[in-house]
């Protein structure tokens, strides 16, 4: 295609006009995930016509899954009337739709927001992650190319640049990279694939790169409880388990594990968390991401790459301190990595070791994300990332406990 001039399918003005009149139909993938569901709700509330494609799971149809989430968001009838739910999946080139429906969809959509993704880090899940993050993206891009779509919004990750050799990560495509895990690697590949395909088809492309997303900064609400939530959930599980043992079983098992309740009623769990000496966690609340996405979407009509991150990372010691305060748990302490080999581990620590092994690059993250392009837009609209302080932490964790880490959602 060298030398061939690509004509963009729609001018920024045309896009803006269509959006302004709320004439745009936006296809959202991954609408049952954390980011996707929030964007579906937000787009509907804003007045856009949304088409969500969702697969069934063992218990529910795709339709039921999305509707359940819309209930959770408390979406009113006018907003709900703007959403159409398609039963399908991204595994097949036809997205699980019959040819008529596929054609109708292609004729209908103006923009695509691609949120569907597999966030597993495990190498043993490589095939599954590659399928979700690369092959399925190609199926969606194929629809985009065969459709009236003029704008593709790709939700990526701030970590798509991989380790980046210690250099600051720019709001740009990265040529090569060493990756921490298969997730980063596939998200990196996905960015290139989307960029090339959209360029060749004359479709404008925005790539959004959030860091680690947690619950709503004001309410703590979320529908996913992995990443940040997992170790807290584990600590609470052990806290409850050994408190019960102490109350009902004279603490025989707690004693073996070195767990006890002190005079102030604080439970001591002997957990040494082994991490590197420097760095912190880059956390953003989901409401901030949604606000940032909407702002960038509406502002950037040419296309671009945007880091949606927190300029201030949190050291793990701070999070542990929040845990201690909120849940009245002591005994958890950070141990430098160098001591790793010399420590015999108890069962509680074994779980933490495994968790840390996977998440350490994000817990002791020293990567710097340049975000001037995103910041320029967000600043104009007074959108700033809220602090992840004790208050935000408490709200998030309290909500998680209230809904039993999602089982009561």
């Amino acid at each position: 295609m060298a030398g061939k001039k690509i004509v963009m399918r729609a001018s920024p003005q045309a896009i803006e006009e269509k959006r302004r009149t709320r004439g745009s139909a936006i296809l959202v993938t991954g609408g049952t995930g954390l980011i996707g569901s929030h964007l579906v709700a937000k787009l509907c509330r804003t007045g856009y016509r949304v088409i969500a494609i969702a697969r069934p799971n063992k218990q529910m149809t795709g339709q039921e899954r999305i509707n359940r989430l819309l209930d959770w968001f408390g979406l009113d009838s006018p907003a709900r009337s703007r959403i159409e739910i398609l039963e399908g999946h991204l595994d097949d080139p036809d997205l699980g739709l019959d040819s008529t429906r596929y054609r109708q969809l292609a004729e209908d959509i103006d923009e695509i927001v691609h949120c569907a993704s597999d966030t597993s880090f495990s190498e043993r899940k490589r095939a599954q992650v590659e399928k979700a993050n690369v092959a399925n993206l190609e199926n969606v891009l194929e629809l985009a190319s065969r459709s009236t779509c003029c704008f593709f919004h790709h939700i990526s990750t701030a970590y798509a640049a991989g380790k980046n050799g210690g250099r600051p990560c720019k709001e740009d495509l990265v040529e090569t990279g060493a990756f921490t895990n298969v997730y980063e690697e596939t998200k990196h590949r996905a960015e290139w694939i989307a960029t090339k395909r959209c360029a060749s088809e004359g479709i404008r492309l925005n790539i959004y790169r959030p860091s680690i997303v947690h619950g709503d900064s004001k309410t703590g609400r979320t529908i996913r409880f992995n990443a940040l939530y997992y170790p807290i959930r584990t600590i609470l599980f052990f806290k409850n388990l050994y408190e019960k043992d102490i109350v009902t079983n004279s603490g025989r098992n707690a004693e073996k594990m070195g767990v006890y309740i002190d005079r102030d009623g604080i439970i001591h769990l002997p957990i040494r968390v082994k991490v590197a000496a420097f760095g912190g966690i880059n956390l953003i609340p989901v409401d901030y991401f949604v606000e940032a996405f909407m702002a960038i979407m509406e502002d950037c009509l040419e296309g671009g790459i945007f880091h949606i991150v927190n300029t201030r990372t949190r050291p793990i010691e701070e999070i542990i301190d929040y845990v201690r305060r909120l849940f009245r748990v002591a005994g958890i302490r950070v141990v430098p990595c160098e001591d790793r080999a010399n420590l015999p581990r108890n069962g509680l620590e074994v779980l933490f070791d495994h968790y840390i092994r996977v998440y350490e690059p994000y817990i002791r993250d020293t990567r710097i994300f340049e975000n001037s392009r995103a910041e320029a837009i967000l600043k104009k609209r007074n959108i700033a990332c809220p602090e992840f302080d004790y208050d935000a932490f408490s709200k998030c964790m309290q909500y998680a406990v209230d809904v039993d880490w999602g089982t009561r959602l």
Partner: protein
């Protein structure tokens, strides 16, 4: 009237004859122990109740006696629940109420006339041990095999000696009456029915141990469980089949195979001699020069050489420090390759690859718990298969080094006694959700985790007993307080939990010998059997695989599950068989080492070399 619900329970009897062995130490049904006819055991009474409910038999003197000898002691409830989850006591009670009401109403109790043949039979075995009472005949007329119709015999006879069998065969031949011999139960494949004479060997139960030759000489009524019990007292074991199956019957029919076959072999490996009464009524021993050659094999199926009246079974020394252990796997290929590797390296004695269904069913005292456990094992922990091994302490260390993650007997006991709490407070979900390069089970089953597991599960006999009906809790608590009930080695040697595989439905097994190096063939067979079953909406699952002959061959079992009381399920099985047969025939003809057990039936005493390497 037999209440409909009771009739339905009665019809569900699986005919596994577990109520005819004292496998839980509860003692046997008192009347069965004395009377020996299957009719006097709970299994027979279930059939009689079903027969009455369906109007198949009249109320006879025999029936009144059978019902009258039931003491409602409740042993059947404990035994049957342990295996099938059924509660036969209510059937027994209903039968008694029915007969009491029948007699109180002055209705006719039929007296069945004798006849010359019966008199001749009684002359041979004694008056008490031959019958033509329909209540007795009915209990020898069917089994859960869905493709065989009920066939009422004319007589049932229970000889005590080989000499009596010789005379019975002469009598039957002389009068032109067909006969079949029957071990402890039906074959559950419709093989032991006739409209002539059923010879039930339940009274022939002697076991003579020849310690110098490491041989147990058993009569045909001796079950695997009973033989294992006897030899275990002397520090030995035998390659035992299903506990309620008779040893002689098993050897003659399919040959003895189990997870022990990895070390002890199959077919003729398991005995040093046998005594038969041939079809003409002549007695011969296999080791006689003039004996028929039943060590050979023909791939067309072959009738048995006669009635086995004695088997000289090999005993093997048990080693003091042996224990059972499980090695979990997330893939079939991983599990099979590991089992093969162990067998090739001669590590471990008993070896078997078990599927998730077997594993969860065997260890769970209720079907509902088994379902939950299976989901925990597979979905939360990633354990799809497990390799079971019996190994001495040296071999266990080696296996640990090879596998990394093992479930030793200490952990197994903890898991089993704490099963109802396996996913307490979402504990396993926590493990499953841990993003990691390792399978969840590889994290959970580490030795450092044992104290945590113990705290989560609170393992105890009482904890496990939470899984059963309220009125059985005390019984299960005391049962599981016995160490052998959570001892992998003991459970494998006596196999008392393997009959649980048919707890939710009657099991229809497909067994084939396969070349163990050809994983592709093994996977192909399993996939074909699954595809065929799925086509006919038959519930199905992998059963087990055991290496043979130092990893060169293996025995593979794949199971279909059907409701044997539902005729439509029988139709489905019939159609499925129409596809399974040509599949096995084709594979047998084209792939060395593939041999469908169907053609081994009746040739179980063949040398393994005759059917594994042809």
């Amino acid at each position: 009237m037999i209440p409909e619900e009771v009739g339905k329970t009665a019809a569900q009897c699986r005919h596994y004859a577990m109520c005819k062995i004292d496998f839980l130490g509860t003692g046997l049904c008192p009347s069965g122990r004395v009377k020996h006819y299957v009719s006097y055991y709970p299994q027979g009474r279930m059939d009689i109740c079903d027969g009455l409910a369906r109007g198949l038999i009249p109320v006879t003197e025999g029936l009144v006696d059978i019902v009258g000898t039931c003491t409602l002691c409740g042993i059947c409830d404990k035994q049957c629940h342990f295996v099938t989850g059924l509660r036969p006591l209510k059937v027994m009670r209903s039968l008694k109420e029915f007969i009491a009401a029948y007699i109180a109403a002055g209705q006719e109790v039929k007296i069945v006339d004798s006849d010359p043949v019966l008199e001749s039979l009684r002359e041979i075995v004694g008056h008490e041990w031959a019958s033509n009472d329909p209540a007795i005949l009915l209990t020898y007329s069917n089994d859960p095999f869905p493709l065989a119709d009920m066939q009422m015999p004319r007589y049932v006879v229970l000889p005590r000696t080989g000499d009596q069998i010789v005379r019975l065969v002469h009598l039957a031949n002389g009068r032109g009456i067909p006969y079949v011999v029957r071990g402890n139960g039906g074959s559950v494949f419709g093989f032991v029915f006739t409209d002539g004479i059923v010879i039930d060997v339940n009274r022939m139960k002697s076991i003579d141990i020849d310690r110098d030759n490491w041989v147990a000489v058993v009569e045909p009524g001796v079950t695997s469980f009973e033989l294992q019990q006897e030899v275990a007292k002397l520090g030995f074991r035998v390659n035992a089949a299903e506990p309620a199956a008779t040893v002689c019957g098993n050897i003659v029919c399919t040959g003895m195979f189990s997870t022990w076959s990895n070390a002890y072999g199959v077919g003729a490996d398991n005995f040093v001699n046998m005594e038969f009464v041939d079809r003409q009524g002549g007695l011969f021993h296999l080791n006689e020069k003039t004996a028929p050659n039943i060590f050979a094999f023909t791939n067309e199926g072959s009738p048995s050489p006669g009635i086995c009246t004695k088997a000289y079974v090999r005993m093997h020394p048990a080693i003091d420090d042996e224990e059972g252990l499980l090695v979990p796997f997330s893939s079939f290929s991983g599990a099979v390759s590991f089992a093969r590797d162990l067998s090739r390296r001669r590590i471990g004695s008993a070896i078997g690859v078990l599927g998730g269904h077997y594993l969860s069913t065997f260890i769970s005292p209720s079907a509902e718990l088994a379902e939950r456990v299976r989901s925990c094992l597979t979905e939360a922990l990633g354990i799809e298969y497990a390799v079971f091994i019996v190994a001495d302490r040296y071999a266990r260390e080696t296996i640990k080094g090879m596998a990394g993650t093992i479930i030793d007997n200490r952990l197994f006991r903890m898991l089993m006694l704490g099963l109802p709490h396996l996913n307490e407070d979402g504990w396993l979900d926590l493990i499953r959700d841990l993003e990691n390069e390792e399978q969840p089970y590889e994290i959970l089953l580490r030795e450092e985790m044992y104290p945590v597991i113990e705290t989560v599960l609170s393992p105890s006999p009482e904890t496990l007993a939470q899984a059963v009906d309220h009125d059985l809790k005390d019984f299960y608590s005391s049962l599981y307080a016995r160490p052998e009930m959570t001892d992998l080695l003991w459970l494998n040697a006596f196999r008392i939990v393997s009959s649980r595989m048919a707890r939710h439905k009657h099991v229809f097994v497909f067994v084939a010998y396969v070349p163990l190096a050809r994983l592709d063939i093994i996977e192909h067979i399993a996939a074909e059997l699954k595809a065929i079953a799925d086509r006919y909406a038959i519930s199905n699952d992998f059963g087990f695989l055991t290496p043979l002959d130092l990893g060169k061959r293996a025995i593979l079992e794949y199971d279909y599950y059907i409701d044997h009381t539902d005729r439509s399920e029988g139709v489905k099985i019939g159609k499925a068989l129409g596809e399974v047969e040509p599949m096995f025939d084709r594979l047998s003809a084209t792939t060395k080492g593939v041999r469908w057990l169907k053609y081994v039936f009746g040739q179980g005493s063949s040398r393994k070399e005759s059917f594994l390497y042809t």
